[in-house]
């Protein structure tokens, strides 16, 4: 017994020495390699975002998985990554087969494997936030624009300001769009996935038949729709007032020059006569049959089908529906969609919309995650807008990058279903940034209340001026 014990002890001591020796040796080798392989360019920018500067300066690895390429617009060194597992990308369910194509191309260019996790769109927030709170490892993920600041404050999004390309990315965008992807202090936290404008998609045939011209104001819309309603059209004006009422309201308000909130979140609209005008206009449209009586509960397919079957004249919605109305939708009116040369509002402005890509706060490897993020949200290793172009050609989801819109190739491809130059002008000049939608943390709680009041107003329960008063007060409540 004693023999065995001694034997065991000897063995275990030997093992113990073996393991510690290997560990020390590994550390020494690792340290040395790290010292040797440390990239020559070290990012020493001091970043004001909390807790990030350290991770970036520590670019030390022993495994090289990247295929080095040089490209005029990217950094000159060869990034190396410590990745033992593929990168984890979390996306909602929209054309996952296209995403997989992109990831395959990404792997070809950089050698990094990415695992795509697809979550159903209706449950995206529940699913991804539960997973994050539960401690899952994510590298890059889809971010809904209105949650980005909350997630950044919770440490779930990595700042994107201190990477070498960040400045260039911001300058590549149309100026008005940059605030969409930054915090109020200007720190970049997301990259564009898709963008669009709120546009008025008009049925050209009906417009010409009735001798209308492009509407130039809300009043014009009202007049034209009223005429059509009297002729028997069920829903001359359609918009998504059921589940995205807030977007429409903001569009009208911004269009008429109403400043909704200042940077501190104080409501500015309470005594604005234009705000009252907007609400009264909405009430008139609803009451006098210019909209469908079920506009507050209509589903998406109801709106699209109505337009394609000539039961509607104007659809006021996201610009990618132009693709549906002119190319892929089913219905006799397909191909008849046009948008006004100037948004029909007194300020000649409409609003920006879109969602984003983001990097998780604690990715497996920051540089690798950044490579993927760049690829998806900006240019690929060859300097082309590969991902954005695929989305644009396939689905009409567009990027906010100046040089993309200047490319004649894209104009040629998209002119099949949209007036490319006109849409470009919308992006460049007519789409107003609405940062309060992103930056006021209690904004969407307020929206719930606001939508309720507006819907009550439409059915005549509350007057427009009362609505304004109530929602202003509610905003002040949130402020305090």
């Amino acid at each position: 017994m004693v023999e065995v014990k001694k034997e065991e002890k000897k063995v275990s001591r030997r093992d113990y020495l073996k393991y510690t020796g290997a560990a020390i040796g590994g550390l020494v080798v690792g340290g040395a390699l790290g010292y040797v392989l440390k990239p020559t360019e070290v990012i020493e920018k001091t970043v004001t975002a909390p807790g990030v500067a350290t991770t970036i300066t520590k670019m030390v690895t022993t495994t090289v998985t990247a295929v080095p390429t040089t490209s005029p617009t990217t950094i000159t060194l060869t990034p190396t990554y410590t990745l033992t597992k593929p990168l984890e990308l979390y996306a909602w369910d929209y054309h996952p087969e296209t995403i997989e194509e992109h990831l395959a191309a990404f792997k070809e260019q950089t050698g990094i494997s990415v695992k795509l996790n697809v979550l159903p769109y209706p449950g995206y927030l529940t699913s991804i936030q539960s997973k994050i709170m539960g401690g899952i490892q994510i590298d890059d993920l889809y971010v809904q624009n209105h949650t980005q600041l909350k997630w950044y404050n919770a440490g779930w999004l990595h700042e994107l300001e201190s990477f070498p390309e960040s400045k260039k990315i911001k300058s590549d965008m149309y100026k008005e769009w940059v605030t969409k992807y930054t915090t109020p202090d200007g720190i970049l936290i997301t990259l564009p996935y898709w963008t669009g404008s709120y546009v008025h998609m008009i049925n050209r045939r009906i417009m010409e038949e009735n001798g209308f011209e492009y509407p130039k104001s809300l009043e014009d819309i009202y007049t034209q729709c009223k005429k059509l309603s009297e002729k028997g059209m069920k829903a001359p004006y359609t918009a998504y007032w059921s589940w995205q009422l807030e977007e429409s309201v903001v569009e009208y308000m911004v269009g008429e020059g109403v400043d909704l909130f200042d940077e501190k979140g104080r409501p500015l609209f309470e005594d604005d006569p234009n705000a009252k005008y907007v609400l009264e206009w909405m009430y008139r449209m609803y009451k006098e049959g210019c909209t469908s009586p079920t506009i507050t509960t209509d589903e998406v397919s109801a709106i699209v089908t109505a337009w394609l079957n000539a039961e509607s004249y104007i659809c006021n919605w996201h610009s990618y529906f132009i693709e549906t109305f002119n190319r892929s939708g089913e219905g006799p009116e397909r191909g008849n969609c046009v948008i006004p040369p100037v948004p029909p509002s007194s300020t000649k402005k409409t609003i920006q919309i879109g969602d984003c890509y983001g990097m998780f706060g604690r990715p497996q490897d920051v540089m690798a995650a950044w490579e993927l993020l760049k690829f998806l949200g900006w240019k690929d290793r060859k300097g082309e807008y590969r991902v954005a172009t695929t989305w644009a050609y396939k689905t009409g989801l567009l990027p906010p990058y100046k040089d993309w819109w200047e490319d004649p190739k894209h104009k040629e491809a998209l002119s099949k279903w949209v007036d490319f130059d006109l849409l470009k002008t919308y992006f460049e000049k007519y789409s107003a940034a609405v940062p309060f939608r992103v930056n006021i943390l209690w904004y969407f709680d307020w929206v719930v209340y606001m939508e309720d009041q507006v819907k009550k107003m439409l059915v005549g329960e509350v007057s427009p001026s009362d609505v304004l008063k109530k929602i202003a007060e509610k905003a002040k409540e949130f402020l305090s």
Partner: protein, 287 residues
């Protein structure tokens, strides 16, 4: 009753299971409810009853609580009564009743989320089936908007009632089949009418099991999330804002999980109080 130490071994696996997978999350829930949570550092600070106060002071809380209790009541009353009627029907000794009994189980097999979509589509004001049916039968001239702010709560309880009535009918049918035949025959000899027979003989027999189904239906209605989320997401306005949706808003939309946890605890306590009252009522009457 046998007494020895074997029972412990037989219970341990399932007991451990429940402790691990349920008690641990519940403890976590209580801890969260009594803390301030900083998401970034994932640190907890003791908060006392602060979160509870915040959620109770929220102006949506009390209406939502009332709505949730009402919703539970609709589901339990609707589901239990219809279920009982179906069971009585299925208990009749007529030809082909076996087919009917087999069909009884169908609604219960449909997941609540599908049921929600289905009834959403049935009630749709533009293309809905109910509108089509009534229009084709020429009972209405124009399509009706079925789900309005006033009736949204009741309308959104219909999918749950539909599914739960199936569940209840199965349970009640089994109870009905357990009633000894001689009692029926005795009452027939005494010349009792069907209705009287039901009231004084049938119902007392199945009342315990029907009462069980009643409380189960209420529980399901009380914590319902799937159907509301799919059908109305809390709207129109706040007419279907139940506690579960409120919790979703607090914890997942506003990212204030500590108040969400507090809300869940309150919901638990309310449920326990209601259940205890119910059981007391039930067992009191039995004596």
């Amino acid at each position: 009753m046998l007494k020895n130490k074997y029972p412990i071994f037989m219970i341990i696996p399932s007991f451990l299971y429940i402790v691990f997978f349920f008690i641990f999350p519940m403890v976590w829930l209580f801890v969260m409810a009594f803390s301030f949570i900083d998401l970034k550092s994932w640190s907890f600070r003791f908060a006392g009853f602060n979160n509870f106060a915040m959620i109770i002071k929220d102006e949506e809380f009390v209406p939502s609580l009332i709505r949730t209790i009402l919703y539970g009541a609709y589901v339990s009353i609707g589901g239990s009564v219809i279920g009982l009627l179906l069971a009585l029907l299925a208990n009749q000794k007529i030809k082909g009743i076996g087919v009917f009994r087999a069909f009884l189980v169908i609604p219960w097999c449909i997941p609540p989320i599908i049921s929600g979509y289905l009834w959403l589509w049935i009630f749709d004001a533009n293309f809905g089936f109910l509108n089509r049916l009534l229009y084709t039968l020429q009972l209405i001239k124009r399509y009706i908007i079925f789900v309005t702010r006033e009736n949204a709560l009741i309308m959104s309880s219909i999918p749950a009632i539909w599914v739960q009535s199936s569940f209840t009918s199965l349970i009640c049918l089994s109870a009905l089949q357990g009633i000894p035949i001689d009692i029926y025959e005795a009452s027939e000899i005494d010349g009792a009418t069907s209705f009287k027979r039901f009231l004084y003989i049938t119902f007392p027999f199945i009342r315990p099991i029907w009462a069980l189904a009643f409380i189960i239906n209420f529980t399901i209605g009380f914590i319902m999330f799937d159907i509301i989320y799919v059908m109305t997401a809390g709207g129109p306005g706040t007419s279907t804002l139940l506690l579960s949706i409120l919790l979703y808003r607090e914890a997942f939309l506003k990212l204030r999980i500590e108040t969400g946890a507090a809300l869940a605890c309150i919901q638990l306590v309310v449920m326990l109080i209601l259940c205890t009252l119910y059981l007391l009522l039930l067992y009191r009457r039995r004596e």
